[in-house]
Amino acid sequence: MNFCAIRVIYKFEMLRTWNTILQSVLSPVISTSLYFVVFGAAIGSRIEQIEGVSYGTFIVPGLMMLSLLTQSIANASFGIFFPRFTGTIYEIMSAPVSAFEILVGYVGAAATKSLIIGLIILATAGFFVPLEIAHPVWMGAFLVLTCISFALFGFIIGIWASNFEKLQLIPLLVITPLVFLGGSFYSVSMLPPAWQTITLFNPVVYLISGFRWSFFEVSDVSVGISLMMICLFLAACLILVWWMFKTGYRLKE
Protein backbone atom coordinates (compact mmCIF):
# COMPACT_ATOMS: atom_id res chain seq x y z
CA MET A 1 0.00 0.00 0.00
CA ASN A 2 1.41 3.37 -1.07
CA PHE A 3 0.48 5.39 2.02
CA CYS A 4 2.76 8.25 0.99
CA ALA A 5 0.69 8.71 -2.19
CA ILE A 6 -2.63 8.64 -0.32
CA ARG A 7 -1.25 11.18 2.13
CA VAL A 8 -0.05 13.64 -0.54
CA ILE A 9 -3.21 13.39 -2.65
CA TYR A 10 -5.36 13.94 0.44
CA LYS A 11 -3.14 16.74 1.72
CA PHE A 12 -3.06 18.59 -1.59
CA GLU A 13 -6.80 18.28 -2.11
CA MET A 14 -7.37 19.66 1.38
CA LEU A 15 -4.85 22.41 0.69
CA ARG A 16 -7.02 23.47 -2.24
CA THR A 17 -9.88 23.81 0.22
CA TRP A 18 -7.89 26.02 2.58
CA ASN A 19 -6.75 28.15 -0.35
CA THR A 20 -10.38 28.85 -1.18
CA ILE A 21 -11.59 28.90 2.40
CA LEU A 22 -13.97 31.84 1.95
CA GLN A 23 -15.67 30.25 -1.01
CA SER A 24 -15.62 26.77 0.56
CA VAL A 25 -16.95 27.65 3.99
CA LEU A 26 -18.54 31.06 3.86
CA SER A 27 -20.82 30.31 0.93
CA PRO A 28 -22.59 27.30 2.55
CA VAL A 29 -22.89 29.24 5.82
CA ILE A 30 -24.46 32.20 4.05
CA SER A 31 -26.82 30.12 1.95
CA THR A 32 -27.92 28.09 4.99
CA SER A 33 -28.53 31.28 6.95
CA LEU A 34 -30.64 32.57 4.08
CA TYR A 35 -32.71 29.37 4.04
CA PHE A 36 -33.33 29.75 7.77
CA VAL A 37 -34.27 33.38 7.46
CA VAL A 38 -36.65 32.72 4.55
CA PHE A 39 -38.06 29.27 5.33
CA GLY A 40 -37.46 29.07 9.05
CA ALA A 41 -38.39 32.55 10.23
CA ALA A 42 -40.47 34.24 7.50
CA ILE A 43 -42.46 31.31 6.09
CA GLY A 44 -41.88 28.75 8.85
CA SER A 45 -43.55 30.88 11.50
CA ARG A 46 -46.81 30.51 9.57
CA ILE A 47 -46.45 26.73 9.15
CA GLU A 48 -47.71 24.44 11.88
CA GLN A 49 -45.50 21.83 13.48
CA ILE A 50 -44.71 18.69 11.48
CA GLU A 51 -44.98 15.51 13.54
CA GLY A 52 -44.35 17.51 16.68
CA VAL A 53 -41.30 19.35 15.34
CA SER A 54 -41.32 23.06 14.54
CA TYR A 55 -40.87 23.74 10.83
CA GLY A 56 -37.58 25.63 11.27
CA THR A 57 -36.07 22.69 13.11
CA PHE A 58 -37.68 20.14 10.79
CA ILE A 59 -35.81 21.42 7.74
CA VAL A 60 -32.32 21.23 9.35
CA PRO A 61 -31.53 17.63 8.25
CA GLY A 62 -32.86 18.32 4.74
CA LEU A 63 -30.79 21.49 4.45
CA MET A 64 -27.70 19.66 5.62
CA MET A 65 -28.33 16.90 3.07
CA LEU A 66 -28.80 19.48 0.31
CA SER A 67 -25.38 20.93 1.02
CA LEU A 68 -23.69 17.59 1.70
CA LEU A 69 -24.83 16.10 -1.58
CA THR A 70 -23.99 19.07 -3.75
CA GLN A 71 -20.69 19.77 -1.98
CA SER A 72 -19.53 16.13 -1.98
CA ILE A 73 -20.23 15.83 -5.69
CA ALA A 74 -18.74 19.22 -6.56
CA ASN A 75 -15.55 18.66 -4.55
CA ALA A 76 -14.81 15.19 -5.79
CA SER A 77 -15.80 15.78 -9.40
CA PHE A 78 -13.68 18.92 -9.63
CA GLY A 79 -10.81 17.24 -7.77
CA ILE A 80 -10.33 14.58 -10.44
CA PHE A 81 -11.65 16.55 -13.44
CA PHE A 82 -9.20 19.43 -13.01
CA PRO A 83 -6.03 17.28 -13.39
CA ARG A 84 -7.66 15.69 -16.44
CA PHE A 85 -8.44 19.13 -17.83
CA THR A 86 -4.93 20.55 -17.21
CA GLY A 87 -3.20 17.31 -18.18
CA THR A 88 -1.52 16.82 -14.81
CA ILE A 89 -3.35 13.50 -14.53
CA TYR A 90 -0.36 12.01 -16.39
CA GLU A 91 1.53 12.06 -13.12
CA ILE A 92 -1.12 10.13 -11.20
CA MET A 93 -1.44 7.60 -14.00
CA SER A 94 2.32 7.07 -14.22
CA ALA A 95 2.82 6.78 -10.46
CA PRO A 96 3.01 3.48 -8.56
CA VAL A 97 -0.46 3.95 -7.09
CA SER A 98 -3.45 1.64 -7.27
CA ALA A 99 -6.98 2.73 -8.13
CA PHE A 100 -7.92 2.21 -4.50
CA GLU A 101 -5.19 4.55 -3.27
CA ILE A 102 -6.18 7.25 -5.77
CA LEU A 103 -9.77 6.84 -4.66
CA VAL A 104 -8.99 7.06 -0.95
CA GLY A 105 -6.97 10.23 -1.55
CA TYR A 106 -9.47 12.11 -3.70
CA VAL A 107 -12.76 10.82 -2.28
CA GLY A 108 -11.43 10.98 1.28
CA ALA A 109 -10.51 14.65 0.88
CA ALA A 110 -13.81 15.55 -0.81
CA ALA A 111 -15.80 13.70 1.86
CA THR A 112 -13.81 15.34 4.65
CA LYS A 113 -14.52 18.75 3.21
CA SER A 114 -18.25 18.16 2.94
CA LEU A 115 -18.30 16.65 6.43
CA ILE A 116 -16.74 19.83 7.77
CA ILE A 117 -19.27 21.91 5.85
CA GLY A 118 -22.11 19.72 7.19
CA LEU A 119 -20.98 20.32 10.74
CA ILE A 120 -20.63 24.06 10.13
CA ILE A 121 -24.19 24.13 8.79
CA LEU A 122 -25.36 22.23 11.85
CA ALA A 123 -23.66 24.78 14.09
CA THR A 124 -25.13 27.65 12.05
CA ALA A 125 -28.60 26.10 12.34
CA GLY A 126 -28.13 26.02 16.11
CA PHE A 127 -28.07 29.82 16.07
CA PHE A 128 -31.48 30.01 14.44
CA VAL A 129 -33.51 27.12 15.83
CA PRO A 130 -33.42 24.90 18.94
CA LEU A 131 -31.75 21.62 18.06
CA GLU A 132 -31.70 18.28 19.78
CA ILE A 133 -30.19 15.21 18.21
CA ALA A 134 -31.90 12.00 19.35
CA HIS A 135 -29.27 9.59 17.97
CA PRO A 136 -25.96 11.41 17.54
CA VAL A 137 -24.05 8.24 16.59
CA TRP A 138 -26.55 7.40 13.83
CA MET A 139 -26.53 11.02 12.75
CA GLY A 140 -22.72 10.81 12.44
CA ALA A 141 -22.95 7.51 10.58
CA PHE A 142 -25.49 8.88 8.06
CA LEU A 143 -23.37 11.99 7.66
CA VAL A 144 -20.15 10.08 6.95
CA LEU A 145 -21.83 7.49 4.70
CA THR A 146 -23.55 10.19 2.66
CA CYS A 147 -20.37 12.22 2.28
CA ILE A 148 -18.38 9.19 1.12
CA SER A 149 -21.08 7.84 -1.23
CA PHE A 150 -21.70 11.14 -2.95
CA ALA A 151 -18.01 12.04 -3.11
CA LEU A 152 -17.61 8.70 -4.87
CA PHE A 153 -20.45 9.62 -7.21
CA GLY A 154 -18.79 12.98 -7.84
CA PHE A 155 -15.52 11.20 -8.60
CA ILE A 156 -17.35 9.16 -11.26
CA ILE A 157 -18.79 12.34 -12.77
CA GLY A 158 -15.31 13.90 -12.74
CA ILE A 159 -13.96 10.99 -14.78
CA TRP A 160 -16.97 10.83 -17.09
CA ALA A 161 -17.22 14.55 -17.84
CA SER A 162 -15.39 15.63 -20.96
CA ASN A 163 -15.92 19.35 -20.35
CA PHE A 164 -16.98 21.83 -17.67
CA GLU A 165 -20.56 21.82 -18.89
CA LYS A 166 -20.95 18.10 -18.36
CA LEU A 167 -19.36 18.49 -14.96
CA GLN A 168 -22.27 20.70 -13.93
CA LEU A 169 -24.92 18.73 -15.79
CA ILE A 170 -25.76 15.93 -13.35
CA PRO A 171 -25.57 18.00 -10.14
CA LEU A 172 -27.76 20.65 -11.71
CA LEU A 173 -30.27 18.56 -13.64
CA VAL A 174 -30.44 15.43 -11.49
CA ILE A 175 -29.20 15.94 -7.95
CA THR A 176 -30.72 19.33 -7.11
CA PRO A 177 -34.25 18.36 -8.26
CA LEU A 178 -33.99 15.01 -6.48
CA VAL A 179 -32.98 16.71 -3.23
CA PHE A 180 -35.70 19.35 -3.44
CA LEU A 181 -38.29 16.69 -4.29
CA GLY A 182 -36.87 14.26 -1.75
CA GLY A 183 -38.49 15.83 1.27
CA SER A 184 -35.80 18.35 2.26
CA PHE A 185 -38.41 20.92 3.18
CA TYR A 186 -41.46 18.72 3.81
CA SER A 187 -42.54 15.33 5.05
CA VAL A 188 -43.46 12.83 2.36
CA SER A 189 -46.68 12.21 4.27
CA MET A 190 -47.75 15.77 3.37
CA LEU A 191 -48.00 14.76 -0.32
CA PRO A 192 -51.12 13.30 -2.00
CA PRO A 193 -51.07 9.44 -1.91
CA ALA A 194 -50.16 9.05 -5.59
CA TRP A 195 -47.17 11.37 -5.22
CA GLN A 196 -46.12 9.56 -2.07
CA THR A 197 -45.70 6.38 -4.14
CA ILE A 198 -43.86 8.17 -6.94
CA THR A 199 -41.54 9.90 -4.53
CA LEU A 200 -40.40 6.53 -3.15
CA PHE A 201 -38.49 6.05 -6.42
CA ASN A 202 -36.34 9.01 -5.44
CA PRO A 203 -33.28 7.62 -3.64
CA VAL A 204 -32.69 10.89 -1.83
CA VAL A 205 -35.96 10.37 0.09
CA TYR A 206 -34.31 7.48 1.95
CA LEU A 207 -31.24 9.54 2.79
CA ILE A 208 -33.18 12.47 4.17
CA SER A 209 -35.66 10.27 5.96
CA GLY A 210 -32.95 8.27 7.74
CA PHE A 211 -31.00 11.38 8.56
CA ARG A 212 -34.09 13.11 9.93
CA TRP A 213 -34.87 10.05 12.04
CA SER A 214 -31.46 10.38 13.73
CA PHE A 215 -32.49 13.92 14.76
CA PHE A 216 -36.17 13.66 15.69
CA GLU A 217 -37.05 9.94 15.56
CA VAL A 218 -39.59 10.70 12.82
CA SER A 219 -39.13 9.24 9.36
CA ASP A 220 -40.98 8.71 6.08
CA VAL A 221 -39.54 5.24 5.55
CA SER A 222 -38.03 2.79 8.02
CA VAL A 223 -34.48 3.61 9.07
CA GLY A 224 -33.26 0.13 8.12
CA ILE A 225 -34.38 0.66 4.52
CA SER A 226 -32.69 4.09 4.53
CA LEU A 227 -29.43 2.55 5.63
CA MET A 228 -29.72 -0.26 3.11
CA MET A 229 -30.40 2.20 0.26
CA ILE A 230 -27.35 4.30 1.04
CA CYS A 231 -25.17 1.19 1.29
CA LEU A 232 -26.54 0.00 -2.07
CA PHE A 233 -25.72 3.35 -3.64
CA LEU A 234 -22.22 3.19 -2.17
CA ALA A 235 -21.73 -0.32 -3.55
CA ALA A 236 -23.00 0.70 -7.01
CA CYS A 237 -20.58 3.63 -7.09
CA LEU A 238 -17.69 1.41 -6.01
CA ILE A 239 -18.45 -1.10 -8.76
CA LEU A 240 -18.61 1.67 -11.36
CA VAL A 241 -15.30 3.18 -10.22
CA TRP A 242 -13.70 -0.27 -10.23
CA TRP A 243 -14.88 -0.74 -13.82
CA MET A 244 -13.55 2.69 -14.83
CA PHE A 245 -10.08 1.92 -13.53
CA LYS A 246 -10.14 -1.63 -14.85
CA THR A 247 -10.94 -0.51 -18.40
CA GLY A 248 -9.06 2.80 -18.19
CA TYR A 249 -12.31 4.55 -19.19
CA ARG A 250 -11.53 8.23 -19.95
CA LEU A 251 -8.26 7.82 -18.07
CA LYS A 252 -6.08 5.81 -20.42
CA GLU A 253 -7.66 6.74 -23.74
Binding site: C4, A5, F12, P83, T86, T88, E91, A95, V97
Partner: protein, 308 residues
Amino acid sequence: MKPIISVSDLCKTYSDGHVALKRVDLDIMPGEILALLGPNGAGKTTLISIICGIVSASSGSVSVGGHDIVSGYRSTRAMIGLVPQELTLGAFDRVRNTVSFSRGLFGKKPDPAYVEQVLRDLSLFDKKDSEVRILSGGMKRRVLIAKALSHEPRILFLDEPTAGVDVELRQDMWQIIRRLRDSGVTIILTTHYIDEAEEIADRVGVINNGELLVVDDKLELMRKLGKKELHIELREPITRIPDSLARHGLVSSPDGREVTYTYDIRSDSTGITDLLQDLKSAGLTLKDLNTAQSSLEEIFVNLVKNKP
Protein backbone atom coordinates in the same frame (compact mmCIF):
# COMPACT_ATOMS: atom_id res chain seq x y z
CA MET B 1 24.41 -6.73 -19.67
CA LYS B 2 20.64 -7.16 -19.35
CA PRO B 3 18.46 -4.39 -20.76
CA ILE B 4 16.76 -2.18 -18.18
CA ILE B 5 13.78 -1.75 -20.52
CA SER B 6 12.68 -4.44 -22.90
CA VAL B 7 9.87 -3.74 -25.35
CA SER B 8 8.58 -6.75 -27.21
CA ASP B 9 6.17 -6.89 -30.14
CA LEU B 10 4.36 -3.82 -28.88
CA CYS B 11 1.26 -2.66 -30.77
CA LYS B 12 -1.16 0.15 -30.08
CA THR B 13 -4.34 0.95 -31.93
CA TYR B 14 -6.43 3.77 -30.48
CA SER B 15 -10.20 3.51 -30.18
CA ASP B 16 -10.64 5.74 -33.25
CA GLY B 17 -8.74 3.17 -35.32
CA HIS B 18 -5.48 5.09 -35.47
CA VAL B 19 -2.56 2.66 -35.44
CA ALA B 20 0.10 4.35 -33.32
CA LEU B 21 2.59 1.49 -32.87
CA LYS B 22 3.27 -1.51 -35.08
CA ARG B 23 5.13 -4.42 -33.52
CA VAL B 24 7.87 -2.43 -31.85
CA ASP B 25 10.84 -4.31 -30.36
CA LEU B 26 13.39 -2.32 -28.42
CA ASP B 27 15.97 -3.00 -25.71
CA ILE B 28 17.34 -0.11 -23.69
CA MET B 29 20.55 -0.65 -21.75
CA PRO B 30 21.17 0.65 -18.24
CA GLY B 31 23.03 3.95 -18.12
CA GLU B 32 22.66 4.84 -21.79
CA ILE B 33 21.11 7.88 -23.40
CA LEU B 34 18.76 6.80 -26.15
CA ALA B 35 17.26 9.38 -28.48
CA LEU B 36 14.05 8.47 -30.27
CA LEU B 37 13.81 10.48 -33.46
CA GLY B 38 10.67 10.82 -35.46
CA PRO B 39 8.33 13.33 -37.03
CA ASN B 40 5.21 14.51 -35.23
CA GLY B 41 2.70 11.72 -34.88
CA ALA B 42 5.32 9.01 -35.40
CA GLY B 43 4.41 7.18 -32.20
CA LYS B 44 7.18 8.38 -29.90
CA THR B 45 4.89 9.72 -27.19
CA THR B 46 2.64 6.65 -27.40
CA LEU B 47 5.64 4.39 -26.87
CA ILE B 48 6.77 6.40 -23.83
CA SER B 49 3.24 6.62 -22.48
CA ILE B 50 2.80 2.85 -22.60
CA ILE B 51 6.09 2.23 -20.80
CA CYS B 52 5.13 4.76 -18.12
CA GLY B 53 1.61 3.36 -17.67
CA ILE B 54 -0.39 6.29 -19.04
CA VAL B 55 -1.66 4.42 -22.09
CA SER B 56 -2.58 0.72 -22.30
CA ALA B 57 -0.93 -1.35 -25.01
CA SER B 58 -3.15 -3.23 -27.49
CA SER B 59 -0.75 -6.18 -27.52
CA GLY B 60 2.85 -7.02 -26.78
CA SER B 61 4.77 -6.61 -23.57
CA VAL B 62 7.17 -4.27 -21.82
CA SER B 63 9.41 -5.07 -18.89
CA VAL B 64 11.29 -2.52 -16.81
CA GLY B 65 14.05 -3.71 -14.50
CA GLY B 66 12.82 -7.27 -15.04
CA HIS B 67 9.22 -6.53 -14.01
CA ASP B 68 6.23 -6.52 -16.34
CA ILE B 69 4.69 -3.05 -16.59
CA VAL B 70 1.18 -4.39 -16.00
CA SER B 71 1.57 -7.07 -13.33
CA GLY B 72 4.51 -5.37 -11.64
CA TYR B 73 3.44 -1.76 -12.18
CA ARG B 74 4.45 -0.64 -8.71
CA SER B 75 8.05 -1.71 -9.21
CA THR B 76 8.33 -0.45 -12.78
CA ARG B 77 6.71 2.94 -12.25
CA ALA B 78 8.74 3.62 -9.10
CA MET B 79 11.87 3.35 -11.26
CA ILE B 80 10.68 5.84 -13.88
CA GLY B 81 10.58 9.62 -13.98
CA LEU B 82 8.66 11.25 -16.83
CA VAL B 83 8.98 14.77 -18.18
CA PRO B 84 5.99 15.24 -20.48
CA GLN B 85 5.97 17.18 -23.69
CA GLU B 86 3.26 19.65 -22.67
CA LEU B 87 3.86 22.10 -19.84
CA THR B 88 1.26 20.44 -17.65
CA LEU B 89 1.29 21.91 -14.19
CA GLY B 90 -1.51 22.72 -11.78
CA ALA B 91 -2.22 26.41 -12.06
CA PHE B 92 -2.11 27.23 -8.36
CA ASP B 93 0.67 24.89 -7.25
CA ARG B 94 3.83 26.30 -5.77
CA VAL B 95 7.17 25.01 -6.99
CA ARG B 96 8.35 23.26 -3.83
CA ASN B 97 4.90 21.88 -3.03
CA THR B 98 4.38 20.38 -6.45
CA VAL B 99 7.82 18.72 -6.38
CA SER B 100 7.12 17.33 -2.88
CA PHE B 101 3.74 16.11 -4.15
CA SER B 102 5.44 14.12 -6.92
CA ARG B 103 7.86 12.58 -4.44
CA GLY B 104 5.03 11.41 -2.20
CA LEU B 105 2.99 10.15 -5.14
CA PHE B 106 5.84 7.84 -6.06
CA GLY B 107 5.87 6.40 -2.57
CA LYS B 108 8.89 8.22 -1.17
CA LYS B 109 8.86 9.67 2.31
CA PRO B 110 9.21 13.46 2.55
CA ASP B 111 12.82 14.60 2.26
CA PRO B 112 13.00 18.40 2.20
CA ALA B 113 16.80 18.33 1.87
CA TYR B 114 16.66 16.21 -1.26
CA VAL B 115 13.88 18.31 -2.80
CA GLU B 116 15.92 21.42 -2.03
CA GLN B 117 18.95 19.90 -3.75
CA VAL B 118 16.92 19.07 -6.86
CA LEU B 119 15.60 22.64 -6.95
CA ARG B 120 19.13 24.02 -6.59
CA ASP B 121 20.47 21.74 -9.34
CA LEU B 122 17.79 23.05 -11.67
CA SER B 123 18.29 26.71 -10.68
CA LEU B 124 14.79 26.74 -9.23
CA PHE B 125 15.60 27.36 -5.59
CA ASP B 126 14.95 31.10 -5.81
CA LYS B 127 11.48 30.32 -7.16
CA LYS B 128 10.64 27.61 -4.62
CA ASP B 129 7.64 29.46 -3.21
CA SER B 130 6.40 30.93 -6.50
CA GLU B 131 3.17 29.80 -8.06
CA VAL B 132 4.02 27.80 -11.16
CA ARG B 133 1.54 29.71 -13.31
CA ILE B 134 3.64 32.90 -13.11
CA LEU B 135 6.83 31.16 -14.27
CA SER B 136 8.18 31.43 -17.80
CA GLY B 137 7.91 28.45 -20.15
CA GLY B 138 11.55 27.55 -19.55
CA MET B 139 11.14 27.62 -15.79
CA LYS B 140 8.01 25.49 -16.05
CA ARG B 141 10.04 22.97 -18.02
CA ARG B 142 12.58 22.93 -15.19
CA VAL B 143 9.78 22.36 -12.67
CA LEU B 144 8.60 19.37 -14.69
CA ILE B 145 12.13 17.96 -14.65
CA ALA B 146 12.34 18.57 -10.89
CA LYS B 147 9.05 16.72 -10.41
CA ALA B 148 10.33 13.79 -12.48
CA LEU B 149 13.57 13.66 -10.46
CA SER B 150 11.85 14.11 -7.10
CA HIS B 151 11.61 10.38 -6.42
CA GLU B 152 15.17 9.55 -7.46
CA PRO B 153 14.27 7.54 -10.59
CA ARG B 154 16.67 5.11 -12.26
CA ILE B 155 15.16 5.84 -15.65
CA LEU B 156 14.21 9.25 -16.98
CA PHE B 157 11.96 9.85 -19.97
CA LEU B 158 12.08 13.28 -21.56
CA ASP B 159 9.41 13.81 -24.19
CA GLU B 160 10.51 16.61 -26.53
CA PRO B 161 12.43 18.34 -23.73
CA THR B 162 13.67 21.22 -25.83
CA ALA B 163 10.47 22.09 -27.68
CA GLY B 164 10.11 25.84 -27.31
CA VAL B 165 13.08 26.42 -24.99
CA ASP B 166 15.83 28.96 -25.56
CA VAL B 167 19.46 28.13 -26.33
CA GLU B 168 20.64 28.73 -22.77
CA LEU B 169 18.12 26.40 -21.21
CA ARG B 170 18.84 23.84 -23.88
CA GLN B 171 22.53 23.85 -23.00
CA ASP B 172 21.64 23.68 -19.28
CA MET B 173 19.38 20.77 -20.00
CA TRP B 174 22.11 18.83 -21.81
CA GLN B 175 24.39 19.41 -18.85
CA ILE B 176 21.75 18.13 -16.46
CA ILE B 177 21.17 15.09 -18.65
CA ARG B 178 24.89 14.29 -18.82
CA ARG B 179 25.19 14.68 -15.07
CA LEU B 180 22.29 12.31 -14.54
CA ARG B 181 23.78 9.79 -16.93
CA ASP B 182 27.08 10.01 -15.04
CA SER B 183 25.18 9.17 -11.86
CA GLY B 184 23.84 6.02 -13.55
CA VAL B 185 20.40 7.15 -14.68
CA THR B 186 19.18 5.71 -17.98
CA ILE B 187 17.78 8.45 -20.19
CA ILE B 188 15.36 8.17 -23.08
CA LEU B 189 14.49 11.34 -24.90
CA THR B 190 12.34 11.98 -27.90
CA THR B 191 13.02 14.76 -30.30
CA HIS B 192 12.52 15.75 -33.87
CA TYR B 193 15.72 17.78 -33.87
CA ILE B 194 18.45 15.55 -35.20
CA ASP B 195 21.27 17.77 -34.02
CA GLU B 196 20.04 17.21 -30.49
CA ALA B 197 20.27 13.48 -30.89
CA GLU B 198 23.73 13.89 -32.34
CA GLU B 199 24.86 16.06 -29.47
CA ILE B 200 23.63 14.02 -26.55
CA ALA B 201 22.69 10.45 -27.39
CA ASP B 202 24.67 7.23 -27.21
CA ARG B 203 22.18 5.42 -29.38
CA VAL B 204 19.56 6.69 -31.77
CA GLY B 205 16.27 5.09 -32.74
CA VAL B 206 14.24 6.34 -35.69
CA ILE B 207 10.50 5.88 -35.48
CA ASN B 208 7.93 6.70 -38.13
CA ASN B 209 4.30 5.75 -38.66
CA GLY B 210 4.47 3.59 -35.55
CA GLU B 211 7.41 1.54 -36.80
CA LEU B 212 10.87 1.54 -35.31
CA LEU B 213 12.93 1.82 -38.50
CA VAL B 214 16.37 1.62 -37.01
CA VAL B 215 18.11 1.62 -33.64
CA ASP B 216 21.85 1.91 -33.63
CA ASP B 217 24.86 3.41 -31.98
CA LYS B 218 24.89 7.10 -32.85
CA LEU B 219 28.35 7.11 -34.42
CA GLU B 220 27.59 3.94 -36.34
CA LEU B 221 24.39 5.45 -37.64
CA MET B 222 26.14 8.63 -38.69
CA ARG B 223 28.84 6.57 -40.38
CA LYS B 224 26.31 4.47 -42.24
CA LEU B 225 24.06 7.29 -43.21
CA GLY B 226 26.26 10.39 -43.20
CA LYS B 227 27.39 10.43 -46.85
CA LYS B 228 28.75 13.25 -48.95
CA GLU B 229 28.44 13.67 -52.70
CA LEU B 230 30.89 15.10 -55.21
CA HIS B 231 29.16 16.34 -58.36
CA ILE B 232 31.47 16.44 -61.35
CA GLU B 233 30.34 18.39 -64.40
CA LEU B 234 31.93 17.20 -67.65
CA ARG B 235 32.87 19.32 -70.65
CA GLU B 236 31.69 16.61 -73.04
CA PRO B 237 28.73 14.37 -72.21
CA ILE B 238 29.34 10.62 -71.89
CA THR B 239 27.05 7.80 -72.93
CA ARG B 240 28.36 5.37 -70.35
CA ILE B 241 30.77 5.35 -67.45
CA PRO B 242 34.17 4.10 -68.64
CA ASP B 243 35.14 0.68 -67.26
CA SER B 244 38.29 2.13 -65.71
CA LEU B 245 36.08 4.17 -63.37
CA ALA B 246 33.81 1.30 -62.36
CA ARG B 247 35.45 0.83 -58.96
CA HIS B 248 34.39 4.32 -57.88
CA GLY B 249 30.70 3.55 -58.15
CA LEU B 250 29.91 6.70 -60.12
CA VAL B 251 26.37 7.54 -61.12
CA SER B 252 25.81 9.40 -64.36
CA SER B 253 23.09 11.98 -64.91
CA PRO B 254 20.53 11.16 -67.69
CA ASP B 255 22.09 13.69 -70.10
CA GLY B 256 25.58 12.32 -69.36
CA ARG B 257 26.96 15.75 -68.47
CA GLU B 258 27.43 15.06 -64.79
CA VAL B 259 28.68 12.15 -62.69
CA THR B 260 28.19 11.87 -58.98
CA TYR B 261 30.60 10.26 -56.55
CA THR B 262 29.41 9.40 -53.07
CA TYR B 263 31.93 9.08 -50.24
CA ASP B 264 32.11 8.79 -46.51
CA ILE B 265 33.28 12.01 -44.97
CA ARG B 266 34.29 10.29 -41.74
CA SER B 267 36.65 7.76 -43.29
CA ASP B 268 40.39 8.49 -43.49
CA SER B 269 40.51 7.99 -47.21
CA THR B 270 37.73 9.55 -49.22
CA GLY B 271 39.08 8.25 -52.55
CA ILE B 272 38.76 11.65 -54.21
CA THR B 273 42.42 11.86 -55.30
CA ASP B 274 42.26 8.42 -56.90
CA LEU B 275 39.03 9.33 -58.62
CA LEU B 276 40.42 12.56 -60.09
CA GLN B 277 43.48 10.72 -61.37
CA ASP B 278 41.32 8.00 -62.92
CA LEU B 279 39.09 10.61 -64.53
CA LYS B 280 42.13 12.22 -66.11
CA SER B 281 43.45 8.82 -67.28
CA ALA B 282 40.07 8.04 -68.84
CA GLY B 283 40.38 11.23 -70.86
CA LEU B 284 37.46 13.04 -69.32
CA THR B 285 37.71 16.82 -69.04
CA LEU B 286 36.13 18.49 -66.06
CA LYS B 287 34.10 21.67 -66.34
CA ASP B 288 33.19 22.18 -62.72
CA LEU B 289 33.13 20.47 -59.34
CA ASN B 290 30.96 20.88 -56.32
CA THR B 291 30.27 18.89 -53.18
CA ALA B 292 27.06 18.51 -51.24
CA GLN B 293 26.68 16.92 -47.87
CA SER B 294 23.43 15.23 -47.15
CA SER B 295 22.51 16.80 -43.83
CA LEU B 296 21.37 14.62 -41.01
CA GLU B 297 17.97 16.10 -41.54
CA GLU B 298 17.99 14.86 -45.11
CA ILE B 299 19.22 11.44 -44.07
CA PHE B 300 16.44 11.23 -41.57
CA VAL B 301 13.84 12.45 -44.03
CA ASN B 302 15.07 9.95 -46.63
CA LEU B 303 14.94 7.16 -44.11
CA VAL B 304 11.44 8.13 -43.12
CA LYS B 305 10.25 8.72 -46.70
CA ASN B 306 11.57 5.45 -48.05
CA LYS B 307 9.36 3.50 -45.72
CA PRO B 308 5.67 3.53 -46.47
